[in-house]
């Protein structure tokens, strides 16, 4: 123990506990404030899918290994299956449903169609949310795209076409 410990840390107060039963959670999603009654154990993914009927984010593994559930929290791409919804209070959640503006497809969505960057479509919302974020992160080299999209499995293996879609959006910018 260091000598500094003489100045013992002020003992904090025990924090208020919410749950384990359903609690009211204010969840800002795609620019709209939603209120859901959920148990604290509910993941952001399940809150979106089961409570807000926003089923664009997909449940591929529920273990953080596939990327199909990728959404943005405060503008960053994250895995909604390993994020608790209750922890997102006061943060801005963006899902694939919030990407198109006034019904006009985002450039990445158009590029995915144009480059045939999907087949079954199940990983696609996660791929697109990841791809848009990747370019905003400034990781735009061809090799960076390969690596930067490797957190999103596509079992149909449309990978070369996914890269082509990302590059086409990059090159248009």
């Amino acid at each position: 123990m260091s000598a500094d410990d003489q100045a013992l840390t002020r003992r904090g107060t025990v924090l208020e506990e919410r749950g384990p039963g359903p609690v009211r959670v204010a969840l800002p999603v795609n620019g709209t404030e939603h209120a859901v009654e959920i148990e604290p154990r509910v993941s952001l993914l399940d809150a979106l899918r089961e409570h807000l009927q926003l089923t664009g984010a997909k449940k591929g593994c529920d273990q953080g290994t596939c990327g199909a559930c990728t959404v943005w929290v405060d503008g960053r791409r994250v895995l909604s299956c390993l994020t608790l919804a209750v922890a997102c209070e006061g943060r801005e959640v963006t899902t694939i449903e919030g990407l198109a503006e006034d019904g006009a497809l985002h450039g990445m969505q158009q590029a995915f169609i144009a480059e045939d960057a999907f087949q079954c479509g199940y990983c696609t919302p996660g791929q697109i949310m990841s791809a848009v974020a990747l370019l905003e992160e400034g990781r735009t080299g061809d090799e960076e795209i390969k690596e930067g999209m490797s957190g999103n499995l596509c079992r149909c293996a449309a990978y070369p076409n996914i890269r082509a879609a990302v590059r086409s959006v990059r090159d248009r910018a």
Binding site: M1, S2, D4, D5, A7, L8, T9, R10, R11, G12, T13, V14, L15, E16, E17, R18, G19, P20, G21, V23, E39, P40, R41, S43, D62, Q63, G64, G67, T70, R76, R77, V78, L79, C81, L82, T83, L84, V86, A87, S130, A133, L134, E137, E143, K146, E147, G148, S150, G151, N152
Partner: protein, 336 residues
């Protein structure tokens, strides 16, 4: 997932007081280990205390020229920080090669150090595992052990430590700062990670409720020329079969300073002191690297399934050091 309660901490002291007072509580930072293992019933806390709002994120230079990286700094932020990239390339590379971009945005540096092993038996509540359930036995000893450790093992546990960043930090002599019910403490990283011995469930010396607040990396001029080599089956998004964090300075053809640690092959981030001791003052050449690697791995205790790691670790050491000695940039990607 069992039912849990949720609390959001607003100051470190309250977080520590809350978790310390309740053995069934855990901290929640990035959640990438905690939520995953909660859902699999490997971890079973009753309460989570969210520390993401605490002022523990950020990177600052220390007056001596080192770095203090806040515990809730995200892996991606730490990897991208100019001071990390310039002064400690091996750390930046280790962070970049960990997990996936999404996970790196979520996972905190403190959580990265405390992430749990990838042993499939540890993660399977139906299998005996001394780490998860003391004295229940180790399934990996006679089971599937390809991914397991060859160094630092015991007859109770052979799980490899999974962190990449911790390997680089161990090579860099980093230390862990904590805040516990008894106050602040500092642990040298090499002492922070415990060998499994006969108590593999104890992975670090912290008391329950003790909170990592920062990781401090001392000034290490040799680290400006460093790298992190990660060998894995997949080209990305996979834990290391073997990894090497290495820094080398060569003066007049001889090794003046060196830092080496191994990952993927040991039960804790493995400082390769034998390699370092062997090589200081030696001519920087492949043969010396190979001899040093052999010395380091001499005490390896592999299983039939992971015996290849003994050879692979040596080759990775030679490759990493050779690359630094040549002064060429190192890439473990294909030359495609």
């Amino acid at each position: 997932m069992r039912p849990i309660t949720y609390s959001r901490a607003t100051d470190p002291q309250s977080a520590v007081a809350t978790v310390s007072a309740d053995p069934t509580s855990d901290y929640l930072a990035g959640g990438t280990t905690e939520i995953d293992l909660l859902r699999q019933y490997v971890l079973q806390p009753r309460r989570l205390v969210d520390i993401n709002a605490l002022p523990l994120a950020g990177i600052e230079s220390t007056p001596e020229g080192g770095l203090r990286i806040g515990a809730t700094t995200r892996m991606s932020d730490a990897a991208a920080a100019p001071e990390v990239r310039e002064r400690f390339p091996m750390l930046s590379e280790a962070l970049e090669k960990g997990a996936s971009p999404q996970l790196r945005h979520m996972a905190s540096l403190g959580g990265n150090l405390l992430q749990r092993v990838r042993c499939s038996y540890f993660r399977d509540p139906l299998a005996p595992c001394n780490k998860r359930e003391p004295d229940s036995g180790c399934s990996a000893l006679t089971g599937h052990s390809r991914d397991h450790a060859v160094l630092g093992t015991s007859e109770h546990c052979i799980a490899a430590h999974p962190s990449d960043a911790a390997v680089a930090l161990t090579a860099l002599d980093a230390s862990v700062h904590t805040l516990g019910p008894g106050g602040e403490r500092t642990y040298p990283l090499d002492d922070f990670f415990l060998l499994p011995g006969d108590s593999p469930h104890r992975e670090h010396p912290m008391a329950h409720g003790e909170l990592i607040t920062a990781v401090e990396v001392p000034p290490t001029p040799v680290a400006r020329r460093s790298l992190y080599l990660k060998v894995r089956d997949r080209a990305s998004y996979e834990f290391a079969l073997v990894s090497v964090a290495a820094a080398l300075s060569v003066v007049d053809g001889r090794i003046a300073d060196i830092r080496v640690a191994l990952g993927g092959a040991a039960t804790k981030p493995w400082r390769a002191r034998r390699v370092e001791d062997f090589l200081v003052g030696e001519v920087a050449e492949r043969r010396a690297f190979a001899q040093a690697a052999q010395v380091e791995l001499a005490e390896a205790r592999p299983t039939p399934m992971n015996a290849f790691k003994v050879e692979l670790a040596q080759r990775a050491l030679v490759r990493a050091l050779g690359t630094l000695a040549e002064g060429t940039g190192l890439e473990d990607g294909s030359p495609a």
